[in-house]
Amino acid sequence: MPQGEYLGMTLTVLDLDQENLAYFQHCADHDFHLQQCADPDCGLIRYPPGTACPWCSQREFNWVPVDARGEVHSYGEVHHAIQPAFRERAPYMILLVELDTQSGVPTEHEALRVAGNLVDADGNFATPDLVKQVGIGSRMRMVFADVAEGLALPHWTLDEDAEQPDAPWRYPQEVNGV
């Protein structure tokens, strides 16, 4: 059973939780994969991991590599942490990044929107200066935080190779310089 300490929290995946086991094993391999519906008439990719296809109810699926790049669709910026693990990290960003893969499919407003925290290129939690640079529209790439054998968490960092918007949309009020 993958289990490890992360920021002082215990993270676990149960041995019978096959979908999450496979998802986090791929993350531990630093090779992002998602489930793709095995129905030839559907073939849609889904996130977060699940036990059947949200579009056609097909139970069969395959793990496929997915390009883990995209754009910030929305975010929350936590200044008062609730979990003790995050008190020292505040202010921290919770990002919802819309992947380029399958954006607007199968209908206009559907997409793969993958959660993660904002980290720097080395995977460290973002400093207030970095937080200030990221908002809706920012181009991101995935980095992984290793937790234990078979368990790593995907996070997001600014994509150095992408063209960034001049001013990503940010909440209008600054607090403590962020």
Binding site: T10, T12, P49, P54, Y75, Q83, R89
Partner: protein, 419 residues
């Protein structure tokens, strides 16, 4: 509004009513168990209706954290149950359980049902998520959220709130008006935990919790129990108060991809978008007929998003709606006249239904004096009590609506009329 054939019997429009309501003091540090709180609230609702224990035979409750089970309270109060069910749930369960209570009575399982919610939301299991709840191991599906510090209600909802600002230009100052108006209402509510009136500046200068939520954009955490009694209209007039008749209910209606609704946008749209097609059909009225709303205010944003998606204004104009004064007592359609979750107390929506029941009776418990028979003599002066006001009764009220919120993707609704 498209009408329906109510003779089909399917919609049960206007065939059930709420005959009694009751609560405990909204407090922090109740000093008693949820069992004890629950019996007080139910007893207060029984006294309100003037109904004896022998005429209640159903009980329902919900809990997502601390509560107490129906059999304990029924035993304490001498109620013999023909039906009970305690379900898991938080916000928006109140309206859904009223619908299920109607179903239980309609199915012949019982005749009169108490619905209650009992919680030490401050002193035992804190609603905001702090305390013991925040320190538990994170496993399985929660790894996609809680492991990112994406855990409390405010944190969970924040991408929806933020995206609404991005999509429609909604401003912090507009949304702050929800708190301002609810605080005005609370100042005329002797029961409210926070009675102090606040300004837009107070809200946007209060401590930032999780952008876009300042401290004063968030509801209060309190200890309290609340109860209401549902029965059929043929019995409802046997009791002490004018019943609040139920025109329609919608329960726990969901957006697509409720496992993580952000996958199916627009994420700035909430469950009300789907609920409106059910609730207005069932009730046979539309938003234009609603004179007073109880739009769940776990946060300032939740009231706004719901009012917008139910059609009280155009999509995207929620910021204008909540800052226009429409929602104020004396305005066209007051919202949460008790002060709601932002000011009165946090009860997962029950207190907003209780408030609307009292509003429909014309018997809201404000600072206005009572006559010798206990009937309230309303001044309709909504200034604070110290300025000679203190009233919060809506005049000539016929129809109210409750807009219950669980999360952006799930909600319930209840429409009532004066009996």
């Amino acid at each position: 509004m498209t009408d329906i054939d109510t003779t089909a019997g399917k919609y049960l429009r206007d065939k059930y009513a709420i005959i009694g309501v009751g609560e405990t003091t909204y407090t922090r540090g109740s000093g008693m168990t949820t069992r004890s709180l629950g019996t007080w609230a139910i007893k207060n609702a029984m006294d309100d209706a003037g109904i004896p224990a022998s005429e209640i035979d159903g009980m329902m409750s919900y809990a997502g954290n601390d509560s107490t089970a129906s059999p304990m309270l029924a035993g304490d109060l001498g109620i013999r149950l023909n039906f009970y069910m305690d379900v898991q749930g938080g916000g928006s369960s109140s309206e859904a359980l009223i619908g299920l209570a109607i179903g239980a009575i309609e199915a012949g399982m019982c005749e009169t049902v108490v619905v209650f919610r009992s919680m030490n939301g401050y002193s035992q299991v804190r609603i905001g998520g702090t305390g013991a709840r925040a320190s538990v191991p994170v496993g399985g599906d929660a790894l996609h959220a809680a492991a990112y510090g994406w855990f409390s209600a405010g944190q969970n909802f924040s991408p929806t709130f933020m995206r609404h600002m991005y999509d429609y230009g909604t401003t912090p100052e507009q949304v702050a008006m929800v708190k301002v108006i609810h605080s005005e209402h609370a100042s005329n509510n002797p029961k409210a935990y926070y009675k102090q009136r606040v300004t837009v500046e107070d809200v946007v200068n209060s401590r930032m919790i999780c952008k876009p939520l300042h401290l004063l954009d968030c509801c209060v955490e309190t200890d309290n129990a609340t109860a209401l009694i549902v029965t059929s209209v043929d019995k409802a007039y046997d009791y002490r108060n004018t019943p609040a008749r139920i025109l329609g209910v919608a329960g726990r209606v969901c957006k697509p991809r409720i496992d993580m609704h952000f996958q199916h946008g627009p994420i700035s749209t909430v469950a009300g978008h789907y609920i409106k097609d059910i609730i207005y059909r069932n009730a046979g009225v539309g938003p234009e007929d609603i004179q007073c709303t109880g739009a769940y205010d776990a946060f300032t944003f939740t009231s706004m998003l719901q009012l917008e998606d139910y059609g009280f204004c155009k999509k995207g104009e929620g910021g204008d709606y909540v800052s226009s004064g429409i929602m104020r007592l004396g305005g066209e359609r007051p919202n949460n006249t008790s002060g709601g979750h932002l000011c009165e107390g946090y009860t997962h929506g029950m207190n907003m239904i209780i408030e609307n029941v009292r509003q429909l009776r014309g018997e809201v418990d404000c600072y206005c004096p009572q006559d010798d028979n206990g009937k309230r003599i309303h001044s309709y002066n909504y200034a604070p009590p110290e300025e000679g006001g203190g009233c919060r009764q809506v005049p000539n009220l016929e129809i109210t609506q409750n807009l219950g919120w669980a999360m952006p993707g799930t909600g319930s609704s209840l429409i009532m009329r004066k009996g």
